[in-house]
Amino acid sequence: MSEVFEPKIVAFVCTYCTYAGADLAGTSRLKYPSNVRIVRLPCTGRISPMFILKALQKGADGVLVSGCHPGDCHFDHGNYHARRRWTVFNSLLQFAGVPEERVKFSWISAAEGIKFAELIREITEDIRKIGPFEEYHKLIAETGSAAPL
C-alpha cells in the first residue's frame, strides 16, 4: 500500500486575527492535520509575495496567507492593501502555472477557531489529492546540483 502523501504547508498569518484564531482552535482542542507551519507577522500588510516564493523554495507544497476580515484590521486598513496585492499576485502565480490549490488566501478572525481548523483540514486534503509540487521541487533540485556540462 502506498503511504498517504503528507504535504508541507506554510501559513503566513497576522498576529491579531488568524494567529489568535489558531490559538483559539488550540484552546478549544480542535484537531487538524499537523502539516501546517505558521509564521506570525504583525499584519497581513506585512506579508510580501516573496514570503510565498521562499516557502515554495523551502519545499512547501502549499501556502496559506490569512488575516483579519475586511474592516477588522487592527491597523485599520493593512488588510485592504494586502487584498490588492493578493489579487495581483494570485493571478500572477496562476498565470505562471502554480495550481490554485497550492496558494490560498483567507480571512480568519480571532473568534474563528473552528474555521481555522476546518480550513487547514480542507487545504491539507486538497493538496494531498494533487500530490507534491513536483514541478517546483525539480527547479529546487537543479539549484543544488551541477549545471549541465
Partner: protein, 337 residues
Amino acid sequence: MATLLYSASLNDCIARWREDGLMVFGPSTAGGVSGFREVEDAGSLDLDLVLTRSTLKELFFPRTEPMLGYRIGKQQIETEEFIPPEGRRIIFGVRPCDAAGMQVDDALFDWDYHDAYWFRRRDSSVIFSIACTHSDAFCMCTSLGLAPDSTKGSDVLLRPLAAGNGWKVEALTERGENALSSISSLLKEGGDAPAPLTDVPVKFDLEACRRWLADPENFESRFWKEISERCIGCGSCTYLCPTCHCFDIQDEGDTYQGVRRKNWDSCSFSLFTMHTSGHNPRATQSARWRQRIMHKFNYFSLKFNVNSCTGCGRCTRECPVDMGVTETLQAISTLQR
C-alpha cells in the same frame, strides 16, 4: 587531394562519436533562440546560422555553476566540491570567431591559478569550426585581424564545399586528429572545390584605435560620455560576448546547507565594482563602457598579448539600444584622423 566530410555522413559521424562515449554539441535552436546544445543527430544541427545567439563560451563557462556544496553542522562544516567531470565532447559547427574566443580566455584562466572549471572542459572538448561562407552586417572578424577561416582556438577546421554537400577537413591539433581518427572510415579523399568564403569588410583600423586607447590623454576624453550616452547598463553585450569572463561568487541555499556558485557578472553593472563603503571606482555608465573597451583592446592585450574581441559582432547585434564595439571603434578611428 584533401580530406572531405560529406554532409550525408555527418549523422553517422555523430553516431560513431556517441558510440565512443563522446557527447556531441552543436548549434541548434530552441524556443526561438539559438545556442550550443547537445544533439543526437545531424538533423538537430542548425549549421546555416551566421552565428548562434549565445556563444560557445557557455559550454565552458556556464552562466551559473556550482563550485562547492556545504552543510553547516554545529562543530563542523561538510563541503563537497563540484568540478565538472571529464566527459569528452565534440563541439561541431563552431564559427571561427567563437573558437578564437576560447584562446582568449585560456590565457586568463591559466594565469598563475589554473581554473579547473574551465580547463577540465577545455581539455575534454574538441572544437570543429566551420569557416564562414555567410556573414551579416554585424560581422567584423577581419577588423580584429581574424578571418572567416581563422583557426585560432579550433581543433579541426571545416571548409564548406562549393557544392554545399560537405566540408574539406583540416585537423589543427592532436585532439582534432584523434577525434577525426575515430571517424576516419566516414571521411573521404577528394578534390572538390571549396566554397568561396564570405567577404567581411574591415570596419576600423585596429592599430589606430589601439594607439588612441593607449594614450593616457584620452582616458578622460569627452568621447566616452558621448559614445555611451544611450547605454542602459544591461549586461547583454557582456553575456553574449564570446570572451567576456567576469563572474561573481554567490552562496545560495537555506540556513543549513547550500551551494556556492560561480555566476556570470558584468562590468556594465553599476554594482560590479562598488565598495561596501559606497565608493564606486567606476560610478558612471561611461566609465564602465570605457573599461569594457579599454579592457578588450588595451589592457588585456598588454597583459596577455591578445585582443579579447574576436569580431563576432554580437554586442551590437543584440544591444537593446544599438550600441556596441563596432560603433565605438569606428568612432575612435575617425578621432585618429
